[in-house]
């Protein structure tokens, strides 16, 4: 009698991964920063959508989140290319981060209390303030999410969007039919084929996906945002120093914009008499020793990549095909939410 084969390899692999997730090796093989230095590169988990993260025709990664990954490589190695990008689906990426497949996740993940306390992740500063949106074909003639009673909604598994959408329809006492798909390309195809009336995800993500549709002009993003989606870098617990490097790298991008320092004028600014600029750019090296970072790390980041605003404009801003407005993602001095603590 043939013995039954009990479990698919895929399930077993998932199980082993889950156990490995909590096994001592990754979390306690020494802090992530040691591993990064040993490897000589930062490993960054990303998605696959042009604008935020995608390899260009020569295979070099480009995008908003990719530039933040490069800024980290500059902070650690003073080299924007000492970084490896690994793409993972929304469903896979948090377990993959937990099991040590990358050092940081920069794939548009939302900071939530469950992810922080139940799954055990720390989040760096928010790099993109977003909210969940609803993308519909124009020909439906719908102007508000409240008109969607009875609609079929395409949602991507593993995202916060999968959870928010139920709340939204329940709160408005209307019904919907979910079609939950894991694979990003299959998700887009299903919507484009008319399987669903609505596609829901972070509004930014919908903007990126709309740009990938054959006829983007036939679709409209409804005005409401049904949730708060603060997108932030995520790392594992137990790496205090690594967390601070992530924090202050993001703050350096934000602070340089607030100070009016750009990739164009950063060299002139070295001669600035303003003590805060001198400290920030490392002309006055007093911040160097304590932080164990190159005192000129902020200078090097801005010189190579520009400030937050430049990174935004270059990858997803109004002048690009994607055309996002800055919205909340402006410095607080300009009415936005970007705010860096003092560099002192």
């Amino acid at each position: 009698m043939a013995y039954p084969k009990l479990l698919p390899a895929r399930l077993v692999a998932t199980f082993v991964l889950a156990v490995a997730t909590f096994a001592p090796s990754p979390a306690f093989a020494g802090p992530t920063l040691d591993k990064i230095r040993e490897r000589g590169a930062v490993k960054v988990g990303v998605g696959t959508q042009p604008g935020f993260f995608s390899p260009d025709s020569s295979g070099r990664w480009q995008g908003f989140f990719v530039d933040i990954g490069r800024a980290l490589a500059i902070a650690v190695f003073n080299d924007p290319d000492k970084v490896e990008f690994v793409s993972a689906s929304p469903q896979q990426r948090l377990p993959a981060l937990q099991s040590g497949e990358f050092d940081i996740l920069l794939s548009g993940v939302t900071e939530t209390i469950t992810r922080a306390l139940q799954l055990g992740f720390h989040f760096g500063p928010v790099v993109f303030y977003d909210g969940q949106g609803l993308l519909v074909p124009k020909k439906l003639g719908v102007t508000s999410g409240k008109d969607l009673d009875g609609a079929t909604v395409c949602i991507q598994t593993g995202t916060t969007g999968e959870l928010n959408i139920s709340d939204f329809f329940r709160a408005n006492k209307i019904a919907f039919k979910p079609v939950a798909i894991e694979d990003t390309r299959e998700f887009i195809k299903a919507f484009e084929a008319g399987r669903c009336d609505v596609m829901t995800q972070d509004a930014s993500d919908l903007g990126l996906k709309r740009a990938l549709l054959k006829t983007p002009e036939d679709y409209v993003l409804l005005p409401e945002r049904i949730s708060k989606e603060p997108l932030a870098p995520a790392i594992r617990w137990g790496d205090d120093r690594w967390l601070e490097i992530v924090n202050w790298t993001v703050y350096a991008l934000i602070q340089s914009e607030e100070l009016g320092i750009t990739s164009q004028n950063v060299d002139e600014k070295l001669a600035s008499p303003d003590p805060s600029i001198r400290r920030f750019l490392g002309v006055d090296p007093s911040l160097g020793a304590a932080t164990q970072l190159d005192p000129k790390f902020a200078y090097a980041i801005v010189k190579a990549l520009g400030n937050y605003g430049e990174i935004f404009e270059r990858n997803v801003g109004p002048a690009t095909k994607i055309g996002f407005e800055r919205g909340l993602n402006r410095p607080w001095t300009a009415g936005g939410l970007l705010y860096a603590p003092p560099f002192r």
Partner: protein
């Protein structure tokens, strides 16, 4: 191996396995505690807060995680049963056709088997999914027969709507009548006549009640709503795509199993059947197939198990099977390890029950004298 020594070795193995399991479990728990995680199955009773696209039992987002997982499990069982049944019918037909004298038919079946076996199942699922999505939108639905809608939102057909106790009694009466008649007609028991008359009587009574008693029975025909087709009986494109993919994939393998089984029966059996005056069909059904089953059944078990496990690819094309619901639950609750343990246990139970049922059947064959020599 000697009895006593064998026993000792077995006991030692068992102890070692248990120790290993305990070690891993302790390690996982310790590490979860160190990472600040709180393991436990208490979350199963809390509201799931997510909707599921299709369900065999009533379910809404305010139901518990446990119920959500049950919905996923039932969906997996549904597609596995339907898939096994269809794959068997298709596979046996193809396997028999492969051995027919017709060269064209033989070649076609062989080509089918090669194409299906040599492409990844996931790719086939994407193909079926794209095919379903290529159907027109509800407003321009294909209507092969009045009342039947073929759309990219699914296939819909009229169904009987029953309201109130009398309606269900009438439906139950009809079902029992049809089942009895079927049994009497095919199995031909000694009291077949009696059974047939009883069935006819029951059917007439049900019909009478339905016509004169106003039992609350009506035809629920699908119709166009604002966004979707509503009413009637609907089957989702995801289910159809998954079912088509699993059926086609397994039928190719089953057809090979059937072919091998039939070929294992000595040629002399065919000849003997012929000389008794049996037609080719009768020879196959009465003489060759029963002997081939002893080779076919054990291999069939592993095809059924494969199909059940392969159904876990559903998540890629959006069918809410167990794996899909497990993933969402893990994402929503944060209890990744616990949900994966549940998934492993559920698949284990599912596959063990499939193989138990099939092994019983195999044993029954053996008892009838058809066991492998």
């Amino acid at each position: 191996m000697g009895g006593r020594r064998g026993f000792l070795v077995q006991a030692a193995l068992l102890a070692a396995t248990l120790a290993l399991v305990a070690l891993v479990a302790a390690d996982v728990l310790q590490n979860m505690a160190r990472a600040g995680l709180t393991p436990g199955f208490g979350f199963l009773g809390r509201p799931a807060n997510f909707e599921i696209g299709e369900s065999l039992i009533p379910y809404s987002a305010s139901d518990s995680f446990a119920r959500a997982l049950l919905v996923g499990l039932l969906n997996t069982i549904m597609v596995a049963i339907a898939g096994c049944a269809l794959a068997t019918i298709l596979g046996v037909t193809l396997g028999v056709a492969r051995l027919s004298g017709n060269l064209l038919l033989k070649g076609l079946v062989q080509a089918y088997v090669e194409v299906v076996r040599n492409t990844p199942l996931l790719l086939q699922l994407f193909f079926w999914s794209a095919t379903m999505h290529a159907l027109p939108a509800p407003r321009r639905a294909l209507m092969p027969v009045e009342g039947v809608f073929l759309t990219n939102r699914g296939v819909f057909f009229p169904w009987i709507a029953a309201e109130g106790g009398l309606a269900w009694t009438v439906l139950a009466g009809f079902t029992v009548a049809v089942a009895t008649a079927g049994y009497a007609a095919f199995r031909r028991p000694r009291n077949a006549r009696l059974l047939l008359s009883a069935a006819a009587l029951l059917a007439a009574a049900s019909l009478g009640a339905a016509l004169f008693g106003d039992p609350g029975l009506s035809i629920d025909a699908p119709r166009l709503g604002t966004f979707n087709v509503s009413g009637g009986f609907g089957i989702s494109p995801e289910f159809l795509a998954l079912l088509a993919g699993l059926t086609v994939h397994s039928s190719a393998i089953i057809s090979e199993v059937v072919r091998a089984g039939l070929q294992s029966v000595p040629e002399g059996q065919w000849e003997a059947a012929h000389s008794l005056g049996l037609s080719r069909g009768q020879a196959l059904r009465l003489v060759v197939m029963p002997q081939a089953l002893r080779v076919i059944v054990p291999l069939m078990i592993s095809s059924y198990l494969d199909l059940t496990k392969n159904s876990s690819l559903a998540v890629a094309i959006g069918f809410p099977d167990l794996v899909s619901v497990i993933s969402t639950s893990a994402n929503q609750s944060g209890h990744a390890v616990e949900t994966i343990l549940i998934m492993v246990a559920a698949y284990l139970a599912l596959n063990l029950s499939v193989s138990t049922v099939m092994n019983r059947y195999d044993a029954k064959l053996a008892a009838r004298g058809f066991a492998a020599p």
